[in-house]
């Protein structure tokens, strides 16, 4: 999917994008799943909503919830440090799979 394309930004971050597919948006359950996955990587992992919202810590369920990301919204994912590529690919994959599995 073009949504899942990764690009190397001008900074040291690896970037990716994915669209929220659940009609009810990014709610508690997916937010917890996403942060648990982010925590499994050493890299610093960040996420943002609405294309150009502020970057927030993808390892904080509270912060991810407070993004209030809605259905159809494009989320940005970025990571830096060890396993940064893997972390972005894993998070983008989880969102694209609609948090299934």
């Amino acid at each position: 999917m073009s949504d899942a394309a990764q690009t190397q930004g001008e900074d040291s971050f690896v970037h990716g994008e994915a669209v929220v597919r659940d009609p009810t948006g990014l709610h508690a359950r997916p937010a917890v799943k996403l942060t648990k996955l982010a925590k499994s990587f050493e890299a610093k992992v960040e996420i943002r909503g609405g294309g150009n919202g502020p970057w927030i810590n993808a390892k904080s369920p509270n912060a991810v919830m407070k993004m209030k990301a809605g259905f159809g919204e494009t989320l940005g994912v970025r990571a830096s440090g060890a396993q940064a590529h893997d972390a972005v690919a894993a998070l983008v994959g989880l969102i694209e799979r609609n948090f299934d599995g």
Binding site: V32, T35, S60, P61, N62, K68, G72
Partner: protein
Amino acid sequence: MAEAVSERVFTGLSAAKGLVIGTLVIEAAAHQGGRQAGSSPEERKALEDAIVLAGRELEALAAKAGDLGAEILEFQSALLEDEDFLALSFAKIEAGGPAHEAWATALDGEVAEYRAGDDDYFKARAEDLLDLKDRVLRSLFGTQTEAPAQMEKDTVLLAEDLTPSRFLELQGPSLRGAAILGGSPTGHVAILARAHGVPLVVGLNARLDSALHGAPAVLDAKAGKLIVAPGQDALAAAKDRLDALATDRRAWEDLIARPAVTGGGTAVQVSINLDDPALLDSLPPEHCDGIGLTRTEFLFSGGHLPGEDAQFGVYKRLLDWAAGRPVTIRTLDAGGDKPIPGVTPVGETNPFLGVRGLRLSLRHPEIFAVQLRALARAAALGPLKVMVPMVTVPDEMARVRVLLDRALADLAAAGIAHARPALGMMIEVPAAALNAGSFAADFFSIGSNDLVQYLTASARDNPAVASLADARNPAVLETIRRCVDAARAKGIEISLCGDMASDPDLLPLLLDCGLRSLSVAPAQLGPVKLAIHRQLGTGGRHG
């Protein structure tokens, strides 16, 4: 003494329907102890220990809470492992605050953020934070979770408020119903109560009076009513209704998985109205003849405009669930009582007579085209029907057909799999109802809510004219009859998908108008099928 209490009636909002006769158990608010604050490092350690203890309690509770309960508690557990979130409290301790004040202030600040804005989901999550706040404070103060209040057999609980975790602690065979002074119908406790079949009234207009403890009580949660110490009449009425409900339920449980047929042998199609696809997880498709109305407004909630792929994914899910049964999807019906920020017009003096439904879609062809393309793609996967709301004149349907043709041509040119869906219209506007024969539509579906409000010129959300907005008005029934005749003359299907179809008492009238297809609220499938079954004779002109 309970015997001395005379009948008292309290009212609130229905959060989980049901009727129960039981004994009132009053739970007083948990007592908060005091504690001596130490040095900053000691306070930090105290909070860390309290968090570990609270985490263990949540884990133990989740293990026996069932899937839904565990899912709700999971968010609280995750917060206890959220370093950024906990850092808010630890920073306040570094600044010299006692642990309990640091935790309480930090949590209150977060609760305020969840409650800000107008998203009910996030407002309801504030409950989880307050629940967690209490649990950690109890650990800090050393007041362990109190033992459940003395539960009676057939307890009707009356409490100031109920947290999700407290509900899960009390939930069991003794807890037959609850009424709380706080709460909301969309909160987690309400969701849990509905899932566990525990009747619940929230926002009860009462004071906790310990003199009422142990009194007999009737909780009529559907009506949002708690009757304490019911008199003989109220008690007898409740008993009669319980008996009738049990008899009906047994009867419709036998019928619900079978096609609906009247006592006179006339088959009636019964489909469902769908507001939220999540509901399909708990509904066997065998219970209905498909989806008669999908309200796609949920896709646009919060003002988001869903993309084509995302919409296609949702439509596919509906077709997968229906397993070959027809799925009718209504195009966006915004405006009137359903505004979408940035799309629906602002400042109309009479939104119900303004730019809503199809009128809005024709003004925003760029939004409409995305939905039509997603629908045409999904139509390649199964029997999908497209239904257009708020049609007034035949030219509007002609314009929709042009837009649909264009979407089909674009998909063909791009080599994307698609099929032409049946294109039908809702009949809600009297001008369309009386001129139905002139419309080029593949099917009709009567939207009785709007049709009744437009025919009687009585707003459906205004209690002062509610008695005039009467579905039994002969003008309403005559209009329905004419629509059925027009559909028969054209040789197309006609159904009715408003609230009228969900009311078993109105069923004989609808059959008498010639209708043989209804789309009802999912919870009404059983009662409506029972009403059809009990309908004797040929049931109307076309029987």
